[in-house]
């Protein structure tokens, strides 16, 4: 298990500027979800991705449009990183007919096959299984498959059975654990014997990498290597990305179990500002970056406005069928 430090970008800088734009989109999207939830426009519950943007965006930078991603109930970031448009995604949260799933799925279960988002999974560990299965198809299609999951999911049945099977079959799968130190309100170390998720890959003789999940460049480079291995037929990799969620677990959680000191320490390592600083260090002009930020904000504002204007599905006219024909 090696810990690579950020290395020179393997893609042109504009790819990182673009990625930074997507991270920024996710950050603002989640802030908007939070507001809309408090306004009663987003229903039930919602799990915000803010703070973990570098993971989804960094991994998806290493993927092609045709590759597969399986996300979690904390999946807005996974969807936006893979290419789902903000408007149908917001509309889904709002339960509108124009939602990416017509309002049927909601925040926890978003599916966007046209963009390779196999699904987001309300069952902890479900994304691991979906990625495994997509890997079976991907192997035949020359694609790769990615499953995002949290530290808590590493104690689930799916983790064990699916990593073993993926390794036995040498499937082109990236298992991306977003270790944000908590499963709901339970500290990772209290529920995870050994408290070392990357180390669990050794049980399956699977390579694993621990990555600074708040460093876009580090995630991109680790994901790139794993994707290369997968495409070369060398099988799956486990990436453990150390990161932190800025909000509580879900809408209703003020996160009293986290110390202010811990929160502050992680806010200092905010992936968004770190990415921005690095872009500046790498020589991008302030105006260039600001332009992307303004474009992102404008895109999101318009998406929200359109989504809010969309109608709710009408049960009378909604022609749902139990089965595919």
């Amino acid at each position: 298990m090696s810990t690579p430090t950020a290395r020179p970008p393997t893609q042109a800088l504009d790819a990182y500027l673009d990625a930074y734009g997507r991270m920024r989109l996710i950050r603002e999207f989640e802030a908007a979800m939070h507001r809309l939830f408090l306004r009663g426009e987003v229903h039930g519950t919602t799990h915000l991705y803010a703070g973990q943007e570098a993971v989804a965006v960094g991994v998806c930078m290493a993927l092609g449009a045709e590759d597969y991603v399986a996300g979690t109930y904390r999946g807005h970031g996974h969807a936006l990183a893979k290419g789902t448009a903000p408007e149908p995604l917001i509309a889904e949260m709002l339960g509108r007919a124009s939602g990416v799933c017509g309002g049927r799925a909601g925040s926890m279960n978003v599916i966007d096959l046209p963009h390779g988002l196999v699904g987001c999974y309300g069952i902890v560990g479900g994304s691991i299984a979906a990625a495994l299965g997509a890997g079976l198809a991907a192997k035949r299609q020359g694609r790769v498959s990615v499953g995002f999951f949290g530290d808590g999911a590493a104690n689930q049945a799916y983790f064990h059975e699916c990593l073993n099977l993926a390794a036995v079959q040498r499937l082109p799968v990236l298992f991306v654990c977003e270790n944000n130190l908590y499963a709901e309100f339970t500290p990772m170390a209290d529920a995870t014997a050994g408290a070392d998720i990357a180390a669990r890959a050794a049980a399956y003789a699977m390579p694993a990498v621990v990555v600074d999940g708040n460093d876009l460049w580090a995630v991109r480079s680790a994901a790139g290597e794993a994707v290369a291995r997968a495409r070369a037929g060398e099988g799956p990799t486990l990436l453990e990305c150390r990161t932190y969620r800025h909000y509580g677990h879900s809408k209703s959680d003020p996160a009293p179990y986290r110390t202010q000191e811990e929160v502050d320490r992680w806010l200092e390592r905010d992936p968004l500002s770190r990415a921005r600083d690095r872009l500046v260090r790498e020589g991008l002009a302030e105006e260039q970056i600001a332009a992307v930020e303004q474009a992102t904000t404008a895109e999101l504002d318009q998406a929200i406005e359109r989504a809010l204007a969309a109608p709710y599905p009408d049960p009378e006219t909604e022609a749902a069928t139990e089965y595919a024909p």
Partner: protein, 330 residues
């Protein structure tokens, strides 16, 4: 007397049984220190200590297995599977270990365990956090399936479940947690399992339901009384064992039965109940029908979910149209 909130009734039942019997333990995901995502169990860990009330990893199958193994070796475990939808992950140990033990061991030992879960739709939680898993387990001999409809029942039935020497699948409807009602009546602190209740007496029609369906049926009965239709509401309380005699006795008087289920008609308990009524009481029966949900997963969008659920208004509507149809000239 002060009202009892459903979630507090659950907490009180757990606390009283933990107090009463040192063999009782309680565990689950985020139930101890955090007190549960539905705030049903705060304070228990502080009161009974981390050896008896503890948080676990996200390992539903292991929780189920741990409860089974502990139950056959002297403990009385109660565990929580946060949402009923997740019971699919815990099923093997319940079905292939816990439910079988008493019989195949030829009564060498008992399996006193309870698994509590939040169930039901209407909370905008979507298709995978809104199911009611009772029917997945209804065909498993050896299990008991309990589904309270009020705070008093929640307390009385949970206490009985914890004292029961058989594995119990205990369902708590999300939309009942914040409901307040009278505490258990004297003598009703523990409600025997397998005994349906008459929630309201009536003469023209028997509505049978369980859990959240009971308050819905009672609300419908009020509205229908205005139409001059006298409705008897039977609260099943348990899906297994099924208290058929109480249902048959009611139908023998009313001659009409409507079963209201928050779940799909095919493979649901409602159809099975009507089948059992037909088998035993066919000649008492003038009419029998089911109000259930559409044969699809549960939708997230408020407009879709509201239309999906067999709420009070839907029950009233169903009764009015069915009875009208019935009296219409052929």
């Amino acid at each position: 007397m002060s009202e009892l909130e459903f979630r507090v009734a659950i907490r009180d039942a757990l606390a009283e049984e933990l107090e009463r019997d040192p063999a009782v333990v309680f565990f689950g995901e985020d139930v101890a220190v955090p007190g549960g995502v539905f705030k049903a169990t705060p304070g228990l860990r502080e009161r009974f200590g981390p050896d008896r009330v503890f948080d676990t990893p996200i390992s539903e199958l292991a929780l189920s297995g741990a409860a089974y193994g502990a139950a056959v070796t002297g403990l009385r475990p109660v565990f929580e599977v946060m949402f009923g939808d997740f019971m699919a992950l815990a099923m093997d140990s319940l079905v292939n270990q816990a439910a079988k033990f008493w019989y195949i061991s030829r009564e060498q030992g008992t399996v006193p365990l309870v698994v509590r879960s939040a169930v039901g739709a209407g909370g905008r939680f979507g298709a995978i956090h809104s199911q009611t898993h009772g029917t997945w387990f209804q065909g498993i001999p050896g299990l008991k399936i309990v589904f309270p409809s009020s705070p008093a029942e929640a307390k009385g039935l949970l206490k009985a479940s914890i004292r029961d020497d058989n594995p119990v699948v205990f369902l708590e409807h999300k939309r009942l947690y914040s409901v307040k009602g009278p505490p258990p009546a004297p003598g009703q602190e523990v409600i025997a399992l397998g005994q349906a209740g008459i929630a309201r007496a009536g003469d023209d029609l028997t509505i049978v339901s369980i859990g959240k369906g009971v308050p819905d049926a009672l609300a419908a009965a009020d509205a229908l009384a205005g139409d001059g239709i006298s409705v008897e509401v039977v609260d099943l309380r348990t899906l297994r064992p099924l208290d058929l005699p109480t249902v048959l006795a009611s139908v023998a008087r009313t001659h009409r039965v409507l079963a209201v289920e928050e779940g799909p008609r095919t493979g649901g308990w409602a159809a099975g109940l009507l089948g059992a009524v037909a088998e035993e009481g066919l000649h008492d029966l003038d009419d029998a029908w089911i109000l259930a949900t559409a044969e699809t997963p549960i939708p997230y969008s408020p407009t879709l979910e509201d239309a999906f659920l067999p709420q009070a208004e839907a029950i009233v509507e169903s009764v009015r149209s069915r009875l009208a149809v019935e009296v219409a000239p052929a």
